[in-house]
Symmetry: D2
Subunit: 362 residues, 4 copies
């Protein structure tokens, strides 16, 4: 099934960009967990556009309504249905796109799959807007994880050729909070300045630019996850590739490991000052054989440039299959990677909480 | 569930490296499909070691026995149980490892998860040997796909710093066959020579080295797959990260897209000489919104160096949690990436066949 | 997961009786299918109370809002989110029940499972009201099935000791329509009169009464379904036991077969006037080995009496575990079986449509 | 998927009656659980034929080989693959059946589904022989449940018109053991004598006869299971209808409840001598809203007569669709219900253990 993930914590995403609403149905949240709605709203605001020159002008409140599963600010143990209204749609902007597929968008592949029945206004179910319910669900998971001593944080690690600093090996929750509070979610504000310049330069050139995000989860015990196809890596990857524009996922040093020798890539075991078993490096990203080592889980995702650019592009006319061109109008972010940062955190939190719930049965 | 993947074609892997046997249970193969067992054996031999100085000396015949689901050389439509005997195990080599976890192996995380109950002799269920049943199942899927005009091929795209040529945009099935017939599965034998030098140099240094694999699937129609969490990317990634030592997966140009501008990253639509709709480049790897575009699906996986190296390494003694060292004996490949090539093909074939079966219902 | 069923057509039910709303999220409806909303409303009205002395006085419009997945009156192929508002709740009626579990309700088992966190006002997620979204989803499935020549019908086959006639072996769709149009859904109005007398007598005695429902699905081809645990019987049973108060499910002659000899129970094969292969009797309910025979699928469900009765009943006080009594006030049907008739049809339609979609891949 | 059930404890059954072997693959058994193989063998012997005049003459040792997942007599936490050899097959007996479907067998429906590709020798995957691996897996689950204070027992409650006594409301584990040790598994040996007469009379008439089984699970805590579609009832029913010849399942008083009034059907709450909350009757079979009440779970299954009878029966010739007759030779039980008793226990144990594992995450 396309729009669902998770085993004991099952998240289903629904809705279209310009339809009646979007939302999530979550089954499996533990019962009796308090939800801090103010904090959830602040988390969701991090993914919204319109705050500065870097983002689209579309502003929607994105207030999640809890239709079910929450009573007196606590989860009840029953399915939680979240609904977010669509209030600020301008379908006219997209009207000419239906029969001229936009390059690197899902217009053509969706047309071929659903034979024209898909409601593709504003990108339909493929719209980045569908990450709002992912954040609503994930923002709740983050609160539940913190109650268990587990913290999730991410930062924009690159935009085009500009790079942020990397996370330290054992980041403090305060660092995560610090980044989350920034309007541009980076570790080094100086490097962040260069990254913003990349975005503004792309915008000026009627173009867009890609980026990457580094994410970490701290506080996980060793021995979490399953071997083979349900390891932490497998589950995270399945969800992360569901976030629009993600084209690469790597754990620890990832692809760089493929260029190393074993003596440099292996993480030696040792003990810390308190006598806990640790690895002295964490090039495997806290996961061996799909299962946590007790070191922080660390991964990186690569995000392609916003496909919608104002330049004229080559395409075809679908009814007659002839070559033509397209100029995309409407509101588009020159870079979506910075807005994806909380979405990656949300996806990580939902996946990790699911693994925790699954492992409780073992 | 750890050892299972697939929705309409469900593959379960079982067994431990030094137990009674290993195998796969596959539910969902279409009925009445002929299996060419000779061809299957040749496919499986590609992942086996012992053929040259690059691989481990362990040689096992790895002949799959079909316990069920096949009658008169055809699938019956019922669960296919495949069993491969374990005949050449030397557990003694591993006996001292139980309480000294090998760096970058799953020993420690497995110990913490199963509290010592896991049968970790020879790596147990985490052993690379468990990819043999993946190949047995995948080798059948490859035959079924070819009957439908779909071809799967892969090559070793890098070892350490040495790189093979890349696949052309529209590779011919003959190229796949040509690579598969080589003892070192590369496109350019000249580049392959450099790659082999990397492996031999690592071996001489009592070390190992990582590598990467590029894989393509041709002949897929446009419109295949599902949006969000069940796209081709999500499903492939979930399975690929189940192959031991895979630490990164990227589609099309993957992480390189995150450094590009949209004008360079977008694939323009156009028509070919026969009037078919194509993209003029394929930087998105044949997938948009999780769904095929009709262009070949293309992805790359990064594989870390063999964790077992002959050098002394730092570790801890599990009973008392004190620092110690380990020297790993036994038979180990200095590079496992070249043997993983058919495993990646098998994983891709099983995933694509599952998507085809799922999409038949839409 | 509790509130979800189906494999290729996945139906999730959400909401609580006295919460913000109830509904269903359905993934897997084929794309491009027209929905006749008037007809759907008529179908849903069949399960609503308040029409006569036999039912509760609670009247709610139960108008399903389609939040997603439907565009210009057609399915889009994306998740369909249905929402029904809760407008007519009187929680006060239930306020004293929280700590005195009502006999044969889920109050006590839910209290023990969720430790008091469940929102049990009005029965919460266990309320019969949750069958409204099942009908909304099922009413759409019924329309899709009819387009494929498949018809679903049911009637109230017994109330207490009073029994309706049985369905003929090959009922016409007109018979199903005829029953559906009646305010009391029986085949024989004369027998129906006796059944209504049973209900009124129970009501007069401040009591309730159980009943049973016979359901049939016609027009199914032979060869549909799967062996062992995913046969038509397994799938139907799993869903049917999800309908509140269902305590028994039998296929064909069901339990009566256990009292027969094989010579009387076996259905002889033969041919009809058109040369089609049929069985001359249909004691197996159109299913052999879990797979359709081409004869109509036939099953019966047993429904226990409404647990809420106005008589004083023995219970315990949960905080202190002492014996006490309870008198249940509020609006309660003396028999819920007649209102369950369309719910059974909806459950059957959703299950059969799912099987059809699954089998398309074989 | 047809041959798999369970969520956290996933059981897959494979094999055909006259193929290379049959077995089960079980994922999710907790790690470190000792298996008493002698006891497992005794459990499996209960379902085997050939012990007396009531059963078929086919005798096979049915010794389960543990291919994986068990090390030093303990579960390892990895998939357990069980294999049972097929040693005593006489396919000749069935050779003439292929094109003349046997009434009330799956021959015809399987032929229509797999278009002749199914290996139906000896009933293939539909054979009662496939219940041997269910017992092998279930026999292990029973041992694990007992370690948790949970006991499963069943008896043959009727054969034709002859009836055994019913279980008491709170049966002692000793009663279960006592029945299990009998060659004819009933509570009252006197009633059992009548039941055996029914079987022998059917056999003498070249006929067969059906029966029913009552099963109970004691020691379950209150609050186990899930609402709606994953209640204890839903899960048990899905598995039970996977046992060949089961045509009806009811919980507690089941269909009899549909003939009662609420005042008679409701189970009053009260306290026992130790102050525990109980229900004073258990007409709901220990389940309310799908969730355990703490009272024993109780259900009954109806089993149709063995379809294979020696009398001439009407059928059709599949190639040309003409009416013909069939006389079934070979070894057939005049009643299969008594051999199904441990199979029902196995199915119940596997389902209950799965529910326990699932609920650990809540």
């Amino acid at each position: 099934m396309a729009s669902q993930f998770g085993e004991r914590l099952r998240v289903s995403i629904y809705g279209e960009s310009h339809g009646n609403g979007i939302g999530a149905l979550i089954e499996g949240f533990p019962a009796g967990e308090h939800i801090d709605f103010d904090r959830l709203m602040r988390f969701m605001e991090r993914r919204q556009g319109g705050r500065n020159a870097l983002s689209t002008a579309r502003k929607e409140p994105d207030v999640p309504e809890f239709v079910s599963g929450v009573f007196e600010d606590k989860t009840t143990g029953f399915p939680v249905c979240i609904r977010i209204a669509n209030t600020n749609t301008r379908s006219g902007d997209y009207s000419n796109l239906a029969l001229k597929p936009r390059p690197s968008h899902a217009d053509y592949s969706a047309y071929m799959k659903w034979h024209g029945h898909a409601d593709m206004r504003g990108g339909g179910h493929f719209s980045g807007r569908l990450t709002a319910p992912v954040c609503a669900a994930g923002g709740i998971a983050i609160q539940m994880l913190e109650r268990r001593g587990i913290y999730v944080g991410a930062h924009l690690s690159s935009v085009g050729a500009a790079r942020d600093d990397a996370f330290p090996m054992q980041p403090d929750p305060a660092l995560f909070e610090n980044i989350a509070a920034k309007s541009f979610p980076v570790i080094s504000d100086e490097k962040g300045e260069q990254m913003q310049q990349e975005i503004l330069a792309a915008r000026e050139a009627l173009d867009s630019v890609g980026g990457s995000i580094e994410c970490m989860v701290t506080g996980l015990p060793a021995g979490l996850g399953d071997p083979m196809f349900d390891g932490i890596e497998n589950r995270l990857a399945r969800v992360l590739f569901g976030i629009p524009a993600v084209k690469g996922v790597e754990f620890g040093d990832g692809f760089a490991l493929s260029e190393m020798r074993g003596s440099a890539a292996n993480d030696p075991f040792g003990t810390d000052a308190q006598g806990n078993i640790i690895t002295k490096t964490n090039r495997n990203g806290g996961i061996l054989g799909g299962i946590t080592t007790g070191m922080p889980v660390r991964f990186r995702v690569g995000i392609k440039p916003t496909p919608s650019i104002a330049q004229e592009q080559e395409t075809v006319s679908l009814p007659d299959g002839t070559d033509t061109t397209i100029e995309i109008k409407g509101r588009h972010d020159p870079c979506i990677a910075q807005r994806a940062v909380p979405v990656i955190e949300a996806a990580a939190a939902l996946t990790v909480l699911d693994v925790l719930l699954c492992d409780a049965s073992q």
